[in-house]
Symmetry: C2
Subunit: 266 residues, 2 copies
């Protein structure tokens, strides 16, 4: 998440009674009677009933190493677009393998359930004589945090810079229904595109209506898949009826804002 | 709506106490005290407090005719892709004008709010010296009927035949969440594609969760915009988290079903 969006998630957590502490390493965890004592590097002591450690995913590569397979990014099994490893007749897919990123045009380590399903299908089909290529991932993700939903796809601004683009990222807060509609709720969208070409590179959305928000990120993911420009988002013939949306979908309003911002800065 | 889907809408209406009578022309409407008396051609008499007549939209073309503008489909003002009429410096947009259909590659009469907004933007920009082309409509629509939502985009099977395609339409009833999820609800999707080329031509979805259903039609509308094949829908990197979807989105499950059906019939 970009910092602005991260703050919104933090507010949601805190308003639900969660204490958020960031930037502090855990130095030790000790048991004291029925509790757990957490000591941080800065000297803070916290008491917990249960601790969940979520420090990222590591590819399980022991079997692969034993079999002599080459490893790639972050120790994941090196694969090509048809999910072949460097050893003939051994294919790999899922969280143990690398993932081809379709904007970066290179392999990354990005273990996601949706990607594992797609890679598994490709590997399976090729194992039985098919010829299918994995079309790549955009890192599309969605997460539900109490009543807030945050979703993203493609490159964030900093990633786009690193990948050699000249990104412009524009944020917009917009109602997800016509303003006269009592059920209208705020949605924050930020959209990233390349200044030189107008190409759509990524987006993040945060709001309250989960599944329609997620499906809006999917509209953007579909547009990136087809190498559309941000301007093209305004041309999409999206559905509309007052109880469900607005004549210009929030995604299109964000795209217009991006185009206007680019024109103003040019 | 295709007849199968029409039946589902009928059931929703009837289960909410609406009496549905189809295929009967209204012969006369008469006032009797505080009620209205409707006489049908088949001799049925109905009593009403209020009558809504919804018999389609007709282009309001009087001003245009007076100004000497050429009319096109269904009496709508004839326009080109930059929204020019046949008279220099007069542009037209919205329900009074024709709409370019991007699959049919010809003008149709299809007055929709979303289209009017897009055409108005194109006309406005061109009037002040811009050069923008209307990218066309797919007739994407969504309607809320009590708790059911029905949405569609692109060509229905019969329309596809008429347009010279060799359509295959495949329907699928699918849960919109993982089966273990208590909030999972049924969604009916039917998807139409060309047998020869695999090109995605259209889809209809009916179900209960309005806005996420509508946004799923929008994923398909975006895919049609980019001339994707049905097979490509399975490659889209769509978002997933258990409370909001399934690892293969219903749209992708329907696409797989379509491909399997084509293979089986081939």
């Amino acid at each position: 998440m970009d910092p602005d969006f991260g703050r919104l998630i933090r507010v949601e957590l805190e308003s639900n009674g969660v204490k958020v502490i960031t930037g502090q390493a855990v130095q030790s965890i000790k048991r004291r009677e029925r509790s757990l004592l957490v000591q941080t590097a800065s000297g803070q002591t916290l008491i917990a009933d249960m601790i969940l450690v979520a420090t990222g995913v590591k590819a399980s590569n022991m079997l692969a190493r034993t079999a002599g397979l080459a490893l790639g990014v972050a120790g994941a099994i090196r694969v090509n677009r048809i999910m072949e490893t460097n050893v003939p007749n051994i294919l790999a897919a899922g969280d143990c393998a690398e993932t081809w990123h379709s904007i970066l045009k290179s392999n990354v380590y990005m273990p996601l359930g949706t990607t594992a399903h797609k890679q598994g299908r490709v590997a399976g089909e090729n194992m039985v004589g098919g010829h299918r290529e994995f079309q790549g991932s955009l890192g599309t993700q969605v997460v539900k945090v109490f009543n807030r939903i945050a979703a993203g796809t493609g490159l964030r601004d900093a990633q786009a810079v690193k990948a050699g683009f000249e990104p412009l990222t524009v944020g917009l807060t917009v109602l997800d229904r016509n303003t006269y509609y009592s059920e209208a709720k705020e949605m924050h969208i930020c959209i990233t595109g390349d200044r030189r070409t107008g190409r759509l590179l990524g987006a993040q959305i945060i709001g309250y209506r989960g599944s329609e928000l997620a499906k809006r990120i999917d509209i953007i993911a579909s547009a990136i898949f087809s190498n559309l420009q941000i301007e093209n988002l305004c041309d999409l013939d999206l559905s509309y009826t007052p109880p469900l949306s607005s004549p210009w979908d929030p995604v299109q309003k964000a795209a217009m804002q991006w185009c206007t911002t680019l024109d103003t800065k040019a």
